[in-house]
């Protein structure tokens, strides 16, 4: 035992140490490449940080004339209203898609089509969808509702389908064995098992939808985003701060409500 000096080395997940260093070197190399790629030139950053001081001064204090305040309130209500309506439409549309996208409940081709749809919905940022919706139905909250509904379907169906795949098939078989029709099997064998998660997910998505509804106005799809972009373009930075504070307040309230409700259902 005492003959050889044994040292301790930290265990690693990599099969060999050379692999570990190669992976680390690769990652660092990519960062450097990225740094050059985006032109992260120290002089430019320093210059930006220098002007940050005076710019932050322009943003403070938050200010809005009574008319602007009224506009914030009006457009913020529009954002929240969009989120409310599209949470409902989104969830209504998600339910059948989720059932069709659950591997244990749906035939293979249907499963593949619905999973594909979910991937498409999840892949594109809300802003991209909003642009297409605005081109399709014109400016205004209707485009926003379409956007948020579409995004909701991808998110909600995916998570609901995953829950459906995790259900206990024993209870489904038991309901079927007692002579239930396929619809009854679904209603009494499957649905009760996912209802608690369903409630939690709905509120969670509602919270996300409130956030989304505050930005898609930037491309004209209704809500407070349009006011924000206009304020930025007019260099009315104190007004921008006021709008941002309003957005943060609404988002926090939504997050609080969502957290409280989800705790009750878990």
């Amino acid at each position: 035992m005492a003959a050889g000096e044994r040292t301790w080395e930290r265990p690693t997940v990599f099969p060999r140490r050379e692999v570990k260093w190669a992976v680390y070197a690769g990652i660092v190399g990519f960062f450097v490449w990225s740094g050059f790629g985006v032109g992260a030139d120290p002089a430019r950053i320093a210059q930006g940080l220098g002007s940050a001081g005076s710019l932050v001064g322009d943003f403070l204090p938050p200010a809005a004339t009574p008319r602007q305040a009224e506009r914030i309130l009006d457009k913020m209500l529009e954002s929240v209203a969009m989120a409310m309506v599209s949470t409902l439409t989104g969830i209504v549309l998600s339910v059948p898609i989720a059932f069709m996208a659950a591997e244990n409940l749906s035939p293979k081709p249907l499963y593949a089509i619905n999973r594909g749809f979910i991937s498409v919905s999840r892949a594109f940022n809300a802003i991209i969808i909003a642009i297409l919706a605005v081109k399709a139905v014109g400016f205004g909250p209707l485009a926003g509702i379409l956007t948020i509904t579409f995004k909701t379907v991808g998110f909600f169906s995916k998570l609901l389908a995953e829950d459906l795949e995790d259900i206990n098939m024993g209870s489904v078989d038991a309901v079927r064995a007692s002579g239930a029709s396929p619809i009854q099997t679904l209603l009494y064998g499957v649905v009760p098992q996912v209802i608690p998660r369903f409630a939690g997910l709905s509120v969670y998505r509602w919270d996300i939808n409130i956030r989304t509804s505050t930005i898609i106005g930037i491309v004209g799809a209704g809500g407070i985003g349009s006011v924000l972009l206009t304020a930025f373009n007019r260099y009315d930075y104190q007004y921008v701060t006021a709008i941002l504070l309003a957005i943060i307040a609404v988002v926090l309230v939504a997050e609080g409500v969502s957290a409280v409700v989800r705790r009750r259902y878990n």
């Binding site: 969009m82 409310m84 139905v137 209704g222 926090l252």
Partner: protein, 264 residues
């Protein structure tokens, strides 16, 4: 026994009324919201027609456009990578502040919470608007916007991980005479390292998706190309860009899922 039939109800009376009232409130809110938006009468038939029209214009995708978007696409990935890296560096101190067991005092705890909240409440695109003013348009502003948005996400989740650690190990390291840096490196970091790697890869995956739209406010990436094509009504080019984005997102998502599976 047999004379009286007893029915089975899922809910007792109070819960039934409660459920009814909740449903009623939800219905009123949704109807009220629809009224408030003043969209007016929408002919439901026009929406599928308009969307269908848009899709026909997109077909077939303009394949030749692919060569023009390779550069912006790489730029998008750079923005996401650099933004995530920056966020990771910034989020470690924020997480230490926002975790109840490592924060020095109540004031720093609240400071951590405020940083996390502000960062998470402001969307990437709004951060980008701000940093474009600061650093000029280009991918640098985009990367910084991504970093600022991700700090909150990483700081919050990493902070929660730090709150879950076994504090005995931290005390053992300290008892062995470690300085505070050493306590951090040998007492705390090894316990949260899997979470740290998993979370940053997850956030990188989200950031790839977020960085595809930064171009709209002039913060670089493939979004610039996308919005140029949209504004020119070049729908076939738009289709190409969308397909490329879809491909990249699907690849990063599976890469992220695979890597997170490794470190779990």
């Amino acid at each position: 026994m047999a004379t009286e039939q007893r029915g089975w109800d899922r809910f007792d009376r109070r819960r039934r009324i409660g459920r009814f009232v909740t449903a009623l409130i939800a219905a009123v809110v949704v109807v009220g919201s629809w009224q408030f938006m003043d969209i007016g009468v929408v002919n439901p038939g026009t929406i599928p027609r308009e969307v269908g029209d848009l899709l026909t214009r997109m077909y077939p995708p303009d394949v030749a456009y692919t060569t023009r978007i390779v550069g912006p696409l790489i730029e998008t990935i750079h923005i996401a990578v650099l933004g995530t890296a920056g966020a990771l560096v910034l989020s470690i101190p924020v997480a230490l502040l926002a975790a109840e067991n490592t924060t020095p005092n109540a004031a720093t705890f609240w400071l951590g919470k405020v940083i996390v909240t502000v960062s998470r409440s402001v969307n990437t695109i709004i951060w980008a608007l701000f940093f474009v003013v600061l650093f000029g348009s280009g991918p640098l502003a985009g990367a910084i916007a991504i970093a600022f948005r991700s700090v909150g996400f990483l700081g919050k989740l990493l902070g929660e991980e730090i709150e879950e650690i076994d504090f005995g190990q931290v005390e053992a390291t300290r008892a062995a005479g470690a300085s505070s840096t050493q306590v951090l490196l040998y007492g705390i970091l090894p316990q949260v390292k899997p979470a740290l790697v998993g979370l940053s890869i997850y956030r990188w995956d989200i950031n790839i998706r977020d960085s595809t739209v930064l171009g709209f406010v002039g913060a670089g990436g493939i979004g610039v190309q996308l919005f140029r094509a949209v504004n020119a009504f070049a729908w076939q080019s738009v289709a190409t860009v969308l397909i490329v984005i879809l491909g990249v997102v699907v690849v990063t998502e599976s890469l992220s899922a695979y890597t997170r599976g490794l470190v779990r």
